[in-house]
Subunit: 347 residues, 2 copies
DNA sequence: TCCGGCGATGGCAACGTTTTCATCAGGCTA
DNA sequence: TAGCCTGATGAAAACGTTGCCATCGCCGGA
C-alpha cells in the first residue's frame, strides 16, 4: 500500500479544500470554482489545482456541500421488500436511470410495515433527498403530507392523485390481463379461474376487477367458486389451488394475480397428480425473473418494471428542473403485455 | 392535509434548531442537549423543548450534524448486482442488523464492473461512511488502499487478509460440499461431475477445489470430462450440461458451483429427454430463494447469507467501538450445509 | 487620457449543527 | 462565612463548503 502515491499522503485524515488551495497557491474560492465552474478559472491555474487535488486525493465533503447549498443530490426510493423478487429489477432500473442524471439513490425498505414506512420517510427527509419515488402501497395520508409540506417532489406507483410536485405512474393492468384472457379463450378455454392477492392491496383489487371485466367482455361465465383469494406468496397459491381442485368441477385454466401465486398453483396441481398445462393451464402476473425458469416456464403478464423505474426517474427530474411549471403531465402510463411460455395449452 | 397540525406550520422550509430554541425560550445549546444528552437538561425545560420540536416538526439536519461531528452514522454495503438472486437476502440481512445498532446503510452495486467499483468506493468515501462491507469480488488493490488509508473499517467476504480495521468473513465452502459428495456417495453415486463457475471468481475456484478434494477423500475417480466450466448463470449450466450429456459415458450425478448453473443443468437434462433425479441427480450451491421452487426442488448447499450479513455488521461494529484494539479476531467463519430436497435420488 | 467592462482571483459570510468553555445560582462541608 | 462542587444553562468557535461582493489589472472605445 505504501507504493501507491495517492494513498500515501495524509493517511487517515481527509484532505480539505483548504489544503488544496494552499498547495496550489490559490484561494479556496478558486479551488471551488475549478471544480464547479471550470470556465471561470484560468487554464494554467486550473491545471495547478487539479494537480494538487490529485496529489492529496482530495474530494469535496458532501455534507459541507449539501449544508451550504441545501441540495443533497440524492433521490430516494422506497420499496416494500428488496427480498421480494418483484423489486430488485425496479431498484436497479431506477438506480441506473438516476445516476445517468448525475444523482445518487438512497433505497429504503418498508418491510410492509407502516411504522417502518414512517421511518423511511423521515430518513429521506433528514437526508434532504430532492425527490422520492414511492413504489409501495403502504402509503399513508399523513406521510404524503409530510412530503408535500416539505415540497419534496414525489412520484407514486399506482396510488393517489397527481398534483403539484406529485406525479403518478399508472399501470395499465387491464391490457395485459385482457390479452391473457383472450389467449386462453383462443386456446379453447371457457372455464377460467382466478386467484387474487391480498384484500388490502389496491393493485391486487385492480387486477381482479380487470380480470372479471375481461371475462364479461368475452361472454364467459363467472363462477364464484373459481374466484379465490391468495396472498401474493407461494403458500397462498398452493392453498387456493387446493381448494379449487377439491371442487367437483374445476376450471381448465387459472390465472394468478402474481407469479408467486402461480408458482404455488403449479406446485399444487402437480401434487394432485395433474399436469401443467396438460390438465390445467396457468397464467401468472409480473413476469419476475424466475418465471422463465419454472417447470414449465410460466406464461405471464409482464409488469414493465424497467419502464416504471425510468418513468419514475423522469418524473422526478422533470419536477426538479421545471419546478413550478404546472403544465406538465405528471401522470405517466405504462402498459402490461402477455408473455406466452409453456404453462398454457389448448384445452 | 391542512388539518394535520404537524405539516401545517412552516410549509416548504425546514425548521432549524434555532427556531426551536426561540420558541422554547432557551439557547440552541440546550436544545441540542435535550436531543443528544437528555440527562443534562432539566425535565421541565426538556418538556418545553420537545413541545416546540413537535410543533415545528423539527428534525436535525444530518448534514450539519455530520459536518461538525465527522461521523455520518452510515455503513456502506457494496454488492455486485442486486438483481442476482444471491444478493437481496444479504442486503436485507445487513440492513436489519445495522439499523438495530442505530446506523443506516448505503447500498451500492458494482454491476461486476471494476470501474463502477471504483465509483462505489469513491461514493462511500465522499459520504463519509464509517465502515464498509465489501461483498463482491471485483476488489482491486488500490481501492482497498484508499479505504485503508482513510482508516475506514472494512469487512470483506472471502477475500484478502485481515489486518488493522480490516476484517474478513471466511466461508467454509468445503464443509457443505463435502456433505454433498457424501450424500451422493451414500445414494450410491460413483460417477459424479462438477460444473464450475467463471475462472476469474476466486470463490468459484475454491468450490471446485473443495469438490475435487472431497472426491479424492471418498476414493472416487476424477474424470476430466466430467469437470466442466460454467459461468454462474443459467445459460452456462445449460451449455456445460449439454456437453456432458453428449459424452459416451456421463455421470449419474452432477454438482454445480451455483444454483443458477444447477437450474440450467436441470433444464438441459429435461430437454434431453432425461429426468431429474431419475436419470441424473443434481446438486446446487447457494440455496437461493428460488431453489425451493424449481421442479424438482433443488438439493443444494446453503450459503448462510443471513449469517454473513450479521457477521459483517458485527465486525464493523466491533471495529467501530473498540478502535485500535488489536486483540480481536477480525476473522469470522461461517459454515455451509447441505439442504436435501428432491433433485437427488439413489442411483 | 479616462472610463466601462471583463477576466481572473480573493475575502468573508453563511449553512445548521456539536462541542468546549464559561457562567451562575444553590447547597453542602469545614 | 468562605470555599467548592454540582446541576442547568449560554456564548461562541469550529466543521468544509459555496456564493456574493469586492478587488485588480488590462484592453478598447470615446
Amino acid at each position: 500500500m505504501a507504493n501507491h502515491p495517492r494513498s500515501a499522503d495524509k493517511a487517515g485524515s481527509k484532505a480539505t479544500i483548504h489544503e488544496v488551495a494552499q498547495r496550489a497557491k490559490v484561494s479556496i474560492t478558486t479551488v471551488s470554482r475549478a471544480i464547479n465552474s471550470p470556465s471561470l478559472v484560468d487554464p494554467q491555474t486550473a491545471r495547478r489545482i487539479w494537480k494538487a487535488i490529485d496529489e492529496l486525493s482530495y474530494y469535496p465533503d458532501v455534507h459541507a456541500r449539501s449544508l451550504v447549498s441545501g441540495k443533497s443530490n440524492i433521490l430516494g426510493l422506497i420499496v416494500s421488500d428488496i427480498t421480494n423478487p418483484f423489486f430488485p429489477e425496479l431498484v436497479k432500473g431506477f438506480e441506473d436511470a438516476v445516476v445517468q442524471h448525475g444523482y445518487e439513490v438512497l433505497v429504503s425498505s418498508t418491510n410492509y410495515d407502516p411504522e417502518r414506512m414512517a421511518l423511511c420517510v423521515r430518513r429521506m427527509l433528514e437526508r434532504q433527498v430532492e425527490g422520492v419515488a414511492v413504489m409501495t402501497s403502504e402509503m399513508q395520508e399523513h406521510l404524503v403530507d409530510q412530503l408535500v409540506s416539505r415540497r419534496v417532489p414525489t412520484v407514486f406507483l399506482d396510488v393517489g392523485t397527481p398534483g403539484a410536485g406529485i406525479s403518478n405512474i399508472v399501470v395499465d393492468y387491464a391490457h395485459g390481463i385482457n390479452e391473457a384472457v383472450q389467449h386462453l379463450f383462443a386456446l379453447g378455454h371457457r372455464k377460467i379461474g382466478f386467484i387474487s392477492g391480498p384484500e388490502s392491496l389496491a393493485s391486487a383489487q385492480t387486477r381482479r376487477t380487470a380480470f372479471l371485466e375481461s371475462m364479461a367482455n368475452h361472454g364467459l361465465p363467472q363462477h364464484a367458486q373459481w374466484i379465490r383469494q391468495g396472498d401474493h406468496k407461494v403458500a397462498g397459491g398452493v392453498a387456493a389451488m387446493n381448494e379449487m381442485l377439491a371442487l367437483p368441477d374445476h376450471p381448465t385454466a387459472v390465472m394468478a394475480s402474481n407469479d408467486l401465486t402461480a408458482i404455488g398453483m403449479m406446485s399444487a396441481i402437480r401434487k394432485a397428480g395433474l399436469s401443467v398445462p396438460g390438465d390445467i393451464s396457468v397464467v401468472g402476473f409480473d413476469d419476475i425473473w424466475l418465471a422463465e425458469f419454472t417447470e414449465p416456464p410460466l406464461t405471464t403478464v409482464r409488469f414493465p418494471r424497467d419502464q416504471v423505474a425510468q418513468q419514475a426517474c423522469l418524473a422526478l427530474m422533470s419536477d426538479l428542473t421545471m419546478r413550478a411549471d404546472a403544465s406538465k403531465p405528471s401522470e405517466y402510463r405504462v402498459e402490461t403485455h402477455l408473455v406466452v411460455r409453456d404453462s398454457t395449452a389448448a384445452v
